[in-house]
């Protein structure tokens, strides 16, 4: 699209690179290609690059001395780039228990959408969801790819407490609550895996551009995974994503 990317300073220590205001998987691949490129460019400098749906933010440790020099350097990089396919993306399989003990709103969703509970669950487990980015809270995944048939408004009255690991739907988004918190999403199930581990390095195994597949597990399997996690024996199922 014309006029994009738009590169501008964001305060003294940030440069914001904005792409077309759309949520789109091809755009995400382009953004992640540039993100890799920027990380390689600044490999020795202390910068942090984060992406969202349509932006890259370069966060510098110190104030940028010559902002416009920096921006023109970046402009050249974007103009001359040949976008290549990213090769290090993976599929992460996340177990979800849709038992009624966890799926507080399954009944409501199925009535509202005129689907059986089984249909709701299979529509939710079918897609290969795309991780656009992680934000909002430590370890919160912004996922794309929810089936339109499952899109549903948030609850009018948010719940005061939603369990950690709760899997829910709010409008066109689905995701997992990384910690107990108040929230308005319609809840379908629970994922027993601790995705964010502050004592691990990196603390989180999923990156922007990865794919997530929800795998239905029974309540017994859910308990078993919980025990494996406590014993430190649980291994997250992952494989390379070939696109």
């Amino acid at each position: 699209m014309k006029g994009f990317p738009k590169i501008s300073p964001m305060g003294e220590r940030g440069v914001l690179i904005e792409f077309a205001p759309i949520i789109d998987e091809i755009l995400l691949q382009e953004i992640l290609f540039f993100k890799n490129k920027l990380e390689n460019l600044y490999i020795k400098a202390n910068v942090e690059v984060i992406n969202t749906y349509n932006s890259l933010l370069i966060n510098y440790l110190f104030s940028i001395e010559d902002v416009y020099g920096e921006i023109s350097k970046l402009k050249k990089l974007f103009e001359n780039a040949k976008i290549e396919k990213i090769s290090d993306q993976k599929i992460v399989y996340l177990p979800v228990c849709y038992d009624e003990d966890f799926g507080w709103d399954l009944e409501f969703i199925s009535k509202e959408k005129d689907l059986t509970k089984e249909e709701v669950i299979s529509l939710h487990t079918a897609p290969l969801y795309t991780v656009y980015f992680i934000g909002f809270l430590p370890g919160f995944l912004y996922l794309g790819g929810l089936d339109e048939k499952l899109q549903i408004s948030r609850k009018k009255q948010p719940r005061l407490k939603i369990e950690k690991g709760a899997v829910g739907i709010g409008e066109n988004q689905t995701g997992i609550y990384p910690k107990s918190s108040p929230g308005g999403w319609q809840i379908l199930g629970n994922c027993p895996v601790n995705l964010f581990d502050k004592n691990a390095n990196p603390p989180f195994e999923i990156s922007s551009g990865d794919k997530v597949k929800f795998e239905r597990v029974s309540k017994a399997e859910f308990q078993e995974i919980r025990e494996q996690i406590l014993e430190g024996k649980f291994q997250l199922k992952k494989e390379k994503y070939e696109g």
Partner: protein
């Protein structure tokens, strides 16, 4: 020798902070760190500590703390009437405390947040490369009665009596915040732009380490944006017309239009403001290109 600083009374809100976490925003982890980094740095430099050493950020009503062994300390930032035992002590000086001494605070005189540095820094565990307390990351989130903070006693070391560190404290009382246009600034109508430049705004009671809300209501016609990156110092305009200044513990992304971005100095300045205080936005000089 390791020694403990014992919390006799916790005060309103005190937390351990350094310069915060870098490199984990891509996992949704806030940067955290001292609200007023200038004051935290100053307190450390007075003691010849690393500028990034952990200090105790003390908000408005200070704690009462007891030293287990001799220590050298310095306090910078807000004047919260610090006392060692029964004697008043000064900010921005090296203070020598003996075993059994009690550090306490009184009435807040100037500013909102004071920083207590201790020679060699507080010896606390680093999590994700920082000692800054934050609810999702560290076990402790605020000072509690009976808690202890570990430090290295500095009994053996010779005492320096004066310091060459200069601390200009004019910003503690300044209303002026130097700001840059935010990513959505250009979408604002001219009337709102000049309103932002010319009016005084006041701090709402909703002000904490995550964000400072301003009380005034603006007429906002901007649409929400596709969730995008935000930083400490980003000023958002909510659909209800309120300005929210994001602070050190802010989320990493947000969906409200980002109308202004505070300079680093301005973040330190607003960190020293309390409910009801006035601030004004002043355009920061644009760097030469």
């Amino acid at each position: 020798m390791k020694a403990k600083l014992k919390v006799l009374q916790p005060g309103l809100l005190s937390t351990i902070q350094d310069f915060g976490r870098r490199g984990f925003q891509k996992y949704g982890v806030p940067s955290s760190g001292a609200m007023d980094k200038n004051a935290s740095k100053t307190a450390n430099l007075i003691l010849q500590n690393d500028a990034n050493a952990a200090t105790l950020e003390i908000t408005q009503m200070g704690p009462k703390l007891e030293f287990e062994a001799a220590a050298k300390i310095a306090i910078s930032g807000a004047d919260l009437s610090p006392k060692l035992n029964d004697s008043k002590i000064e900010n921005n000086e090296i203070i020598k405390a003996e075993a059994g001494d009690i550090l306490s605070f009184g009435r807040p005189i100037i500013g909102m947040r004071a920083y207590l540095a201790i020679k060699n820094g507080f010896q606390l565990e680093k999590i994700l490369e920082s000692r800054s307390w934050y609810a999702e990351i560290t076990e402790n989130t605020k000072l509690e009665k009976g808690m202890t903070l570990t430090y290295l006693s500095s009994e053996e070391e010779k005492i320096e009596t004066h310091t060459s560190v200069k601390y200009n404290d004019a910003y503690l009382e300044s209303e002026n915040l130097s700001v840059f246009p935010g990513p959505e600034y250009d979408n604002l109508p001219e009337t709102l732009k000049s309103h932002l430049r010319q009016s005084a705004f006041s701090l709402d009671k909703n002000n904490n380490r995550m964000a400072i809300q301003l009380s005034e209501i603006l007429k906002n016609e901007l649409d929400p944006i596709i969730t995008g990156p935000v930083l400490p110092g980003t000023v958002q305009l909510t659909p209800g017309g309120k300005l929210i200044v994001l602070m050190r513990d802010c989320q990493t992304t947000g969906g409200y239009p980002r109308v202004l971005q505070l300079s680093e100095d301005a973040i330190n300045t607003i960190a020293q403001k309390k409910t009801g205080d006035k601030i004004r936005f002043k355009s920061a000089p644009i760097p030469k290109g």
